[in-house]
Symmetry: C2
Subunit: 455 residues, 2 copies
């Protein structure tokens, strides 16, 4: 009996060892192929430099749908299709203008927030009230705010190591500041850009007016961090100083767009689906290379690597390029709704939407038991300097799948530079490093492979 | 007795816990102070933008000595001084020129290697022999090489995750290629730049002629990776194609320079020294922001953080800004020689000379027992995403201390972008991210603190 037990142990060791060895080999192949013979960088070059920005509802967004569909078809996947999504279309209009009224040479670099309404065609001239939180605003007398521009100027907290935490601690000003200011009679809102650097780029992003009627929406804009510092100094010295600003953005209603989807059918459990994706739309200021062109091409690369290495997944592996993450999440909501309607079973979903920087690991939205299995793969990832496997947020587009019990994960690249570019004019292809992008794709493919093999 | 033992255990737990808590608090202070109130970025701005390149023996190098000495003095250290070092002075002269002879519009971006001699004033016109290693060159008949330019074109291996390994696997062509080519009768050497990207920047670096007499030295230059690809294609099509190149660099003999040193005297073991440093000299093409302005200002910041937080180290903590790492290691050799002559006892030395990118951890040159103690601090570093604590190379300047049994360490920042800039014209201040630089300084301060407290 004891002898038998020893034999069993030995057998189990050999099987486990063979498994691990083959895992090691496959991960190495993913990384080498992505770095030596990858397509993610070329795809992103096309998306960023030939197509450019992909604001939902724009021609760029539709060109990106066509282009990525064609490229996925060329990979020889089992199925590629477009999933219709009705999306909200908002346009920026003419370039915004803002300056200190007494000194038109003091330009305040500014951009309308996504979803904001315009100023009157002649612009707005008003005094500015600086606050650092919605609470601080709400504590002010309405009389102090009425007829003025409310200026939210709480900076991102620089000593938080993970910059997304600093973003999370600040972004309420941008999303909900205008609603609060409108309720107190303000005529406009400026928000300090969500940027950890001092520079001249305004960073856009969505604004919500809650349930305020359309005629109560006030124009809302982001100003650059340098402009925020200057404006704050000026109004500290001269509170009665007026500021001029003008923007021409408008909401154009719903238009037809698409999620782009491709899949490799599972060899053993074709009815169980694993999703990998990013969002195809971007803001209009740069070309959306980091947010989220990178995530799209990395997700496409995952399926390309599976095909290229002739690895046949047990589960169905599906790439989804979601439309309109930025301005309403229409694509993510539609995908989850259709999946539910069709009674599709999703096992896992991974999103890359935190920039194309050096990958550090993943955040998981799953239970403890699942996390323990995933963390047992640490050693496999060690040669690639992938070390972060913790619970945390995954991605906005795959979030709606949470309701049906799917394991969710988000790629976690190095986050230090991300908010230098996020939603700004400088989120362009030159801010992408080829190797970093390719390492991210290989890291995602490795996780997809291990989940496929072990779940 | 059993009761006594339990009490002892409890006491030990409380002491250990207090220790760990205080470690946690101190690390948090280092990181917060570096990120919220650091000086490293301003210092580097001055070094890079007001002084510029700091080629050994140049006015820039001497200005940097004066500037950093003055800044260290302003920190209120216990002692700041200059350590005289005789350094080799080499100058580039006029900008180099190279082109395909039949088509002077096909410019080949090229730069002389440090220590190379000039071409004749009228330049060199010769055919090119492409090889991929010194072995391949040595296997050729001398007749094939004689009178020609040898072109070393082995690229860095892109699927190595740690880019310094790819550098290590390639740099023999640059360092020893000219000696081998000269011995076979070549008239010049081109080396493909040590760069993982395809671009137009030539990357310089040292060349050695071994014990060849001066009159046998042949001019050696690096060409950009794009130029290497073009040249390789052209000579594959037309082997007899001639190339023109001209460079005017020369060796100017030895001149006086200095290591810049400052220290905080240890409160308990002042005679035991812990060094933190980088090298103050740079190549002349860019402004040496990553190589190694970053390492210098991070090392200065370590001592500033100790002073600012009023932490009194047990051992003497010494910052050393070494002169002439790039072109002879004169400063590092002198420092070690003087330390030996004075019978100074060094416990530990840490160098930052791998760029100012997001820190990932450290490589250690120490014994297993020491490494185990260091690795026990993993959890303390986890909130800062510092995860790499492995054996490996430390830094060139502190290397000579190895002989006297010092524990050596090198900061390991993310290495993916490093060779985009290394020794090239684009190693400039705009390639530095403030947060990444500051995180590196805090990580170094944290390690210095933990070594001081535990060794």
């Amino acid at each position: 009996m004891k002898y038998m037990f020893t034999l069993l142990l030995l057998f189990s060791f050999l099987v486990n060892n063979a498994q691990t060895n083959s895992d090691e080999v496959i991960l190495k192949q993913f990384y080498s192929t992505s770095l030596l013979d990858g397509k993610s960088y070329n795809w992103l070059d096309h998306l960023s430099n030939r197509i450019g920005s992909r604001l939902t509802g724009s021609i760029g967004a539709e060109m990106a749908v066509e282009y990525t569909k064609k490229e996925l078809e060329a990979l020889g996947l089992d199925r590629v299709w477009l999933q219709p999504v009705l999306v909200k279309k908002w346009v920026r209009g003419a370039k915004e203008v803002a300056y200190i009224k007494s000194d038109i040479n003091t330009n305040l670099p500014l951009c309308a927030l996504g979803g904001s309404g315009p100023t009157p065609p002649s612009g707005i001239i008003a005094q500015v009230v600086e606050v650092h939180s919605i609470e601080e605003l709400n504590a002010l007398d309405d009389a102090v705010v009425k007829g003025k521009i409310v200026f939210f100027n709480r900076p991102m907290q620089a000593d938080l190591i993970q910059t997304f935490e600093a973003y999370g601690g600040c972004v309420d000003q941008r999303v909900h500041g205008a609603e609060a200011a409108a309720k107190k009679g303000a005529v406009g809102v400026f928000v300090r850009s969500m940027n950890l650097r001092l520079d001249d780029y305004p960073h856009t992003g969505t604004v919500s007016y809650g349930d305020l009627p359309l005629n109560k929406h006030i124009p809302a804009a982001a100003i650059s961090t340098n402009a925020a510092e200057i404006l704050s100094s000026i109004i500290a010295l001269t509170p009665e100083q007026e500021v001029y600003f003008k923007q021409s953005c408008s909401y154009k209603g719903e238009v037809q767009s698409y999620n782009v989807i491709g899949e490799i059918t599972g060899s053993e459990k074709p009815e169980e689906i694993m999703v990998v994706g990013g969002h195809l739309d971007s803001w209009d200021l740069g070309d959306g290379s980091h947010d989220d062109g990178a995530g799209c091409v990395q997700s496409m690369e995952v399926l390309r690597l599976f095909k290229k290495l002739e690895y046949k997944p047990k589960h169905t592996i599906r790439v989804v390029l979601f439309m309109n993450e930025e301005n309403g999440l229409d694509g993510g909501l539609k995908y989850a709704k259709d999946a539910e309607a069709k009674n599709e079973k999703h096992l896992f979903a991974l999103e890359s939407d935190a920039g194309g920087f050096t990958p550090r690991g993943f955040a998981f939205d799953c239970n403890d038991e699942q996390l323990e299995i995933i963390q047992s793969w640490r050693e496999l990832f060690k040669p690639y300097l992938i070390h972060y496997f913790e619970k945390g947020g995954s991605g906005a587009d795959i979030g709606p799948l949470k309701a049906v019990g799917v394991i969710l994960a988000g790629l976690r690249p190095d986050s230090q530079r991300y908010f230098d570019y996020h939603h700004a004019e400088n989120d362009t292809f030159d801010a992408i490093n080829k190797r970093e992008l390719e390492l991210g794709a290989a890291t995602m493919a490795s996780l997809m492979y291990l989940i496929d093999a072990n779940f």
